[in-house]
Symmetry: C2
Subunit: 469 residues, 2 copies
């Protein structure tokens, strides 16, 4: 295969394959400060499209974007005991600014519950101000000892939603709505990644939450990646930050808050959920470049045809681009494969003379001749077919590699190459500890029919057990 | 007037008027750490629309978005002597992270020339890789001793473009293109702010630049605000970061670089360029809400009509919203005036029975009755009329308050309430010092016909002299 010399095969060394793809697809580089990352234009274009798709869904769910400061007084974090305990080891601290030592050290935000809690308390007066539905797109910093580009970086980009509600029920309902209508819908419809949607076991909850929901995707090596999480924070942060409201009876009452986030980790998830030995495979609805049009020979007639084809594709709403590079044809094909562009159209003088071009699908490698007049129409159909095929293939892989097991021993074995599904009562307590000692964790709890439980106290829950990123 | 109790009049105390508008229009709040800012949903919605308009122009100019780290090794800044000298007093420094003291302190980026320079050096091999045209949307930190929301905040949001070119001419041409086709076009077409477009005098150049271009807008108190800047960096950063390329002759050559930025200061500029005693005035092309539809009475027939009108306006691409609040009608009118929504449609039972609604322009306060069937069509025309009127009014104010003067004494006097335009040779040297001692600066140098000079060595340049933000 053309690309075997370029990328380490997945089966040989999956982590190295990942590194190779990130580098050769020009997705990202390591930054100069430990664990930081430079997101290169192609990687950033993918992130921008993720942002747009998630942002539209967040707005549809009624939340408004805002922006809160990067710098948080250290004292804020200490106000919620579990929260500060969870984040303390990962904090970056500013001690000097404006040429002087600061009287109180400043934390670079690892997340913004605390500072947003402070302002919710200020802005919320009465039940009429509720629900308060906020979201921000921002960078956050959590110091990483074992950084990996996109998956674990000391600085990452994300959106974090923060909401305040009058009742527990309204908070829980909204967090579930975000989890379902924003995250899971985006993951299925755009990223083409089917996930197990459930709640975290108590040991894996967000620091300060009373309930954490997660979408757990299966990567091509059988490990799990947490793609997005939504948290019910109960009244923990409301107590810590005095987020009161006057209820309809005129009494002061504490709010119930939620938070929910998805980050540039999703780019790592995209790479590992769909990628193959030839590189990245980007689902068409996400792809910044859906169709790359390449001249087989550098002849003016061929180049003109390429430009016309790309223009007509753009005319029907397809994100098409002409490869204007004049380097080796084979090398360019390899490069576009590594970048995972869903469809390639090769334009050669011979095909052209018979009014045709060659179309190559990235997912299957399938080639077909398409009559020039039918290119637009065909491309639209094939892009949707690729989108559906990627989702189905990912779902089949997930289902085939999820093994129903009866006890922790079997779970340990099954989790070596995939997910184990097991009754939660078999795992809770000592079983969870045993799994952890082998770097295997409970990814989520679900009902037996796969639906979302209200909390971990429900009977007969099952759990997904796996190695993870 | 209804709002006199709400806002301090501009004529009484302009800085307080500004603070009042920022607070009452719910644009922003002070953050808990000195000089930081919380951008509230309405302020952020305006910034998002600025971002979208600028981003589209940047992409049209061929630059690609990327993302570079927040954290920069302190040593990087020292490599370009003028740069480190310019920024040192404003830096925030991280000394501890992950529970340990760092071996090398980390700077929170005040701007990204240095870290981007490092990666340009890595990515650029030959002339085929040039020009390299990058942009990033990010937060930056410059410690402020006298912070003011949007205008001077210790953390602000911006875009910073960074490009590398094979020749001085290509770099200069691209910086000019950005300045003209991105910034000035955005300012005129969207923000409706006419500016003086010129170059900075040597004393006001960006730290490390060989030439800085600026767009200087006039605020309603006659002071200047620098709305956007574009810098030719020559080979200064290329030398400091070894940004070499192999030219067509196969020899190693140094690149020429540029950088250019616009920030959340623009929100402050919007407020001060168009605002009046009743609050903010947002140009229609920028406005997140272009039309607010208000029921004069809370009756189901009226409410239904409001919903229908808003829906039909959305149908023709207008950003319309129904005011669903049921509080005091007068108070709501005042609130929407303060927020500067360009058009208000009042729907009352009496008008409705004769098939009409009342339309009120925010810019002139002019009221008119519009037949229901003609609302969509009329609104589209009136929004464009408001856009044009705001630009013309701002241009007239700028022209009326720009005084041609012959010497520094006259410039000092004219700059008390507006701009002075004066021959640069009258000011250069001791004159500039004298102006500075009165907190007046040379905002930009232009040719006598108002066009952009190549550099400050051109003969017969004029300059704009003013107080500024």
């Amino acid at each position: 295969m053309a690309t075997q010399s370029v990328l380490t095969p997945q089966g040989e060394d999956f982590p190295r394959w990942y590194q190779d793809v990130v580098a050769k697809a020009e997705m990202a580089d390591n930054g100069p400060v430990r664990g930081t990352m430079v997101i290169r234009p192609y990687g950033y274009a993918i992130w921008e499209r993720m942002q747009a798709a998630i942002d539209a869904r967040i707005k549809e769910a009624g939340a408004q974007n805002a922006y809160f400061p990067l710098f948080i007084p250290q004292s804020y974090l200490s106000r919620e005991a579990e929260h500060v305990e969870g984040f303390s080891p990962e904090l970056a601290i500013v001690t000097h600014a404006g040429g002087e030592e600061l009287s109180e050290p400043i934390v670079v935000r690892p997340t913004s519950e605390t500072v947003i809690g402070e302002f919710m308390a200020k802005w919320i007066q009465s039940y009429r101000d509720l629900p308060l539905l906020l979201n921000q797109w921002a960078n956050v910093v959590r110091w990483e000892l074992r950084p990996r580009l996109f998956l674990r970086s000391s600085e990452f980009l994300w959106q974090e939603g923060h909401t305040a509600h009058a009742t527990y029920e309204d908070a829980a309902k909204y967090a579930l709505k975000i989890h379902t209508d924003v995250y899971n819908d985006f993951l299925e419809q755009v990223l083409a990644v089917p996930t197990y949607v459930g709640i975290k076991p108590p040991s894996e909850r967000f620091a300060g939450a009373i309930n954490s929901m997660t979408c757990e995707g299966m990567m091509r090596d059988g490990k799990a990646l947490q793609m997005a999480t939504s948290h019910e924070l109960g009244q923990n942060f409301a107590k810590a930050f005095d987020i009161f409201f006057q209820n309809e009876a005129g009494q002061a009452a504490l709010c119930h808050t939620t938070s929910w986030g998805a980050s540039t980790r999703l780019v790592g998830g995209l790479i590992m959920a769909h990628g193959d030995d030839n590189g990245l495979v980007v689902p068409p609805r996400l792809a910044p470049i859906q169709v790359i049009v390449i001249a087989v020979r550098d002849e003016s007639e061929v180049n003109d045809a390429c430009a016309r084809i790309a223009a007509s594709l753009k005319g029907v709403g397809v994100r098409a681009q002409v490869d204007a590079n004049r380097g080796s044809f084979g090398r360019r094909l390899t490069d576009w494969e590594i970048k995972g562009v869903p469809l390639r159209i090769e334009v050669g003088p011979r095909d052209l003379s018979s009014g045709q071009v060659t179309m190559v699908r990235r997912d299957s490698g399938e080639k077909s001749l398409v009559v020039l007049d039918a290119v637009g129409e065909t491309v639209l159909v094939v892009l949707e077919s690729i989108q559906a095929t990627l989702f189905e293939a990912a779902r089949d892989r997930r289902d085939e590699n999820t093994h129903d097991v009866a006890n922790v021993d079997e779970a340990l074995e099954a989790a070596q190459n995939g997910f184990a599904r097991i009754a939660w009562r078999e795992v809770e307590g000592p079983g969870e500890q045993r799994l952890k000692s082998e770097a295997i964790t409970v990814r989520c709890l679900m009902r037996a029919d796969g639906s979302m439980p209200v909390d971990d106290a429900e009977e007969d829950l099952v759990c997904i057990v796996a190695k993870s990123y």
